[in-house]
């Protein structure tokens, strides 16, 4: 019997990655933690403030409102994009040139830079020069996303649906294509209806794909910044101001590093918590 030799040299193999992660994640994170307990006004003007910024952030009514707004937005995004994406994937062609054509068309919004997406919708929604906005006004609707909170909210939501539903559709499509034909053949032999095929074959087989889609869309929509910033700037009022805009204003606009650091840590923990909850729930649903 060959005796295994123990060698700690193997640890050296993961050293580069450890260093990389330290520089890209741990050091910045610790810097943020350090800043979050100080009031920093200059290189030589710092005051230790303990948990003052955390208390302030957690008690700020504007942030409570932004958090609620963010949550509603993310849940709305999931409620629309998931069934829509799934539906689109189900009707997508399975063979021939139409497959390539559909994939290219669907992928187009995903290829457009986020700030350009914002600019497109900013112009599209305008009632004077935008095709969408002008059309709505012509139909007799009092649409003005620059002045009306509901219109602004809906514009941002529709823009996100346009931008990201293709991602869900493509993910689901790849999941559907991975289902072995034998399942469909068995269902056909049993005379299963289309609904039964979807309910008992396609949906269970798409579970992992849907978990990824939900996590991706939740996290991305929870961190949304560029598109609403370009389209509405967070307005009118605060109607489309999401958490990331508060953070940007504090950290970049005001250079208010202490409160911004505390806020970014809380923001990070929120996302971590929600993703954990989603992941756990989805796994249990799958197992159950």
């Amino acid at each position: 019997m060959i005796e295994k030799t123990r060698s700690n040299k193997a640890w050296l193999l993961i050293l580069p990655m450890t260093l990389l992660v330290a520089f890209s994640a741990i050091v910045p994170l610790m810097t943020v933690v350090n800043y979050s307990v100080q009031d920093i006004l200059g290189p030589n003007t710092k005051v230790y403030v303990g948990f003052e910024w955390f208390r302030k952030v957690l008690r700020d009514p504007e942030l409570h409102a932004a958090f609620l707004r963010q949550l509603v937005f993310s849940l709305s995004v999931l409620a629309i994009e998931l069934p829509l994406g799934l539906g689109v994937s189900l009707i997508m062609p399975r063979r021939g040139w139409a497959v390539s054509a559909t994939l290219v068309v669907l992928a187009l919004p995903l290829l457009i830079p986020w700030n350009v997406v914002g600019t497109i919708w900013q112009i599209f929604g305008r009632t004077d020069i935008g095709m969408g906005g002008a059309a709505l006004v012509e139909l007799g609707l009092h649409y003005n996303y620059t002045a009306d909170r509901v219109d602004a909210w809906l514009t941002v939501l529709v823009m996100d649906v346009w931008h990201w539903t293709p991602l869900v559709a493509l993910l689901c499509y790849s999941g559907l294509r991975a289902i072995p034909p034998a399942y469909y053949q068995a269902a056909a032999i049993d005379g299963a209806s289309g609904w039964s095929v979807f309910r008992y074959i396609q949906l269970p087989k798409l579970k992992n794909v849907l978990v990824i889609a939900i996590l991706l869309r939740f996290m991305d929509s929870f961190m949304i910044y560029t598109e609403p910033f370009v389209v509405t700037g967070g307005g009118p009022g605060n109607s489309t101001t999401f958490l990331s805009q508060f953070l940007t204003r504090l950290a970049v606009g005001q250079f208010d590093l202490g409160p911004a650091a505390a806020f970014s840590l809380i923001y990070f923990l929120f996302i971590l918590f929600f993703c954990y909850v989603f992941y756990t729930v989805m796994n249990r649903v799958g197992q159950g």
Binding site: P28, T31, D128, L216, T232, G233, G253, Y267
Partner: protein, 597 residues
């Protein structure tokens, strides 16, 4: 995999931003290479080629570019020769400076930087980026102590900030001290019309203007001169259609064009133009002297003392509060009135798209030919609105519009400032190594020297020198500029000034304005509630500055007292007027020009 990446993005994108300022140690030989000026509307100019060895030829090569000039040929040669001689210790040094993106700075970046490199051998990269990005770079250097740019063209709105933090070099000391050997003998600081803007309470000059433009009243002179419209206006309002002297007249004229005239030559017209998108530029709409136009603040130039146009009260150079309860005026009746009028006019008289526009989107709109007047118009747009072929330009190239002093609100009194003047000024930070500061100072002086300043004025229409404004070349060109020259030649221009010394931390305080204004625009908050919130937030920031301490004149907040103890008292915030809409007053444009002579 992407999900993990996204986790990281959530926390570490912010962390990365914040960590850029993580090191506080000064770098003795900091380089300028860390900065990058890549953002929308940005660029840079530098001379890549090796400078010619025979630099005396460069003088003759570049002199034709610097015409016209208030200097004679020999005087120009002498100035350029000085730069060549003074630059000898710094030949081949690479320096980096930055400014905002306007025509003047683009000219500096693309032409003057190249000329300076060929003349002196100092390699200059002059980046131009958005104003907000300039402040961000400056803040980063101030917070980290690491050299990012060797000099900044930074608005003198930050004079109170620079002075109090002690991070900026006092140029007046530098010019007579360690920078004496690199200071142009013919710089003539007293020739600068904006010298007082860059002067701190200690009497020292910290920022020297490189370009200036004012915030003026803009109107369609051709429409205002039409007899049919004049008669119609007089019939309705009982006084002449002309340049409004007060806000009542402005409002009447706005109402007249939007709701009575409605169309001119078959095209819908509006009596007012503005912008209201929730955006940092919405803050400029207010911090750039809007409140002083309404009448917020005390008498005093360039800024009111003890209370300035931000409503910040100063006692013995220490800011003591902005709330009325502390003696400030940010939530006073005059301040609330100014916000209420802005919102009312935006909604009632401006095009329906205006509330969704930013500063830069709204700027060119008057040039489309359907705006009758604009109370808050930056003269930086002069060149853009003078382009041949525009609906607002005559066939002979002269403008159909004019600019004039802005009207004032009912709270305004003689002796107060009346408008805003943007003064982008050369600013040097202590954290830049001395040799780099010297080289950059040479370039800075070159861009504002009498040799090039008049040519630069014609390029960007941002005058800085009295000698240029009064020159024959400018007299000859005046008719093309719709009143710009007349304004700058008049003593009226002294009432147009930037943010002043009362503001202890411009970046932190300025960012508080636009979110609050935006909430008032939608009606989520009343103008009073929005200004109350703003005043409290400004006081909170000043309390933090007081706690942390500043190098000079840190805030010392007054204890809060009932508003009644301050309102209407001498040097206190103004009490509410019984009548905020007195009778409108106007003045014929020609009479106005006469009064300026």
């Amino acid at each position: 995999m992407k999900s993990r990446t996204s986790f990281c993005v959530a926390a570490f994108a912010a962390a990365a931003v914040l960590s850029t300022t993580g090191c506080n140690k000064k770098k003795p030989e900091g380089g300028a290479g860390a900065a990058s000026g890549s953002s929308a509307g940005s660029g840079s100019g530098s001379a890549e080629a090796k400078p010619p060895a025979d630099r005396s030829a460069a003088i003759e090569k570049w002199l034709p570019e610097f015409q016209p000039s208030t200097l004679s040929h020999d005087q120009q040669v002498a100035e350029l020769k000085f730069f060549q001689d003074a630059a000898k210790p710094f030949v081949d040094m690479e320096i980096k400076v930055v400014s905002e993106t306007i025509a003047t700075h683009i000219y500096e970046s693309k032409t003057l930087a190249k000329a300076f490199t060929e003349l002196t051998g100092i390699k200059v990269t002059h980046d131009y980026i958005q104003e907000g990005d300039v402040i961000e770079k400056l803040q980063t250097q101030m917070q980290s102590g690491q050299n990012i740019y060797d000099m900044y063209v930074n608005d003198t709105d930050l004079i109170g900030t620079h002075y109090r933090y002690g991070d900026a070099v006092a140029l007046s000391d530098f010019m007579t001290g360690e920078g004496k050997d690199v200071t142009l003998p013919t710089l003539d600081v007293d020739d600068f019309i904006g010298k007082s803007f860059g002067t701190a309470p200690d009497g020292k000059l910290y920022q020297l203007p490189d370009q200036q433009f004012a915030n003026l009243y803009w109107f369609r002179y051709d429409w205002f001169s039409r007899d049919d419209l004049k008669k119609k206006f007089k019939d309705k309002f009982g006084y002449e259609l002309g340049v409004p002297v007060n806000w009542s007249a402005y409002e009447d004229i706005a109402d007249f064009f939007t709701n009575t005239v409605k169309e001119i030559d078959g095209k819908k017209v509006y009596g007012h133009m503005d912008y209201g998108k929730k955006d940092p530029s919405l803050g400029w709409r207010f911090t750039d002297a809007w409140l002083s136009m309404a009448g917020v603040g005390s008498k005093g130039l360039p800024n009111g003392l003890p209370v300035d146009e931000w409503g910040i009260r100063v006692e013995d150079c220490h800011p003591v509060g902005s709330s009325v309860s502390r003696g400030g005026e940010a939530n006073s009746p005059a301040a609330v009135y100014s916000l209420a009028k802005y919102i009312e006019w935006l909604k009632k008289y401006a095009p329906p798209e205006a509330p969704g526009m930013t500063f830069s989107e709204a700027g060119p709109v008057p040039g489309q030919g359907n705006i009758a007047q604009q109370i808050f118009w930056y003269s930086a747009f002069t060149a853009d609105l003078s382009k041949p072929g525009l609906p607002v330009v005559n066939e002979d190239g002269t403008p159909k519009w004019r600019m004039a002093p802005s009207p004032h609100g009912p709270y305004w009194e003689k002796g107060m400032k009346l408008g805003y003047q943007d003064a982008g000024a050369w600013t040097m930070l202590n954290s830049t190594p001395l040799d780099r500061r010297k080289a950059a100072w040479l370039y800075a002086q070159f861009t504002i020297s009498k040799t090039v300043s008049l040519k630069k004025f014609f390029t960007g229409l941002t005058p800085i020198r009295k000698s240029d404004i009064m020159s024959d070349a400018v007299t000859k060109a005046a008719p093309k500029y719709g009143g710009l020259i007349e304004f700058y030649r008049s003593s009226a221009r002294e009432l147009w000034t930037p943010t002043g010394n009362n503001v202890p931390d411009y970046p932190k305080l300025a960012q508080l304005w636009w979110p609050n204004v935006s909430e008032a625009v939608t009606g989520a908050l009343s103008p009073q509630a929005a200004m109350d919130k703003l005043a409290k937030e400004m006081d909170d920031v000043m309390a933090r500055l007081e706690r942390a301490g500043m190098k000079y004149c840190a805030p010392k907040l007054n204890p809060e007292k009932p508003a009644a103890e301050w309102l209407g008292k001498p040097n206190g915030p103004k009490a509410k007027l019984a009548n905020e809409k007195p009778k409108g007053e106007t003045m014929a444009y020609e009479k106005l020009l006469e009064s300026w002579k």
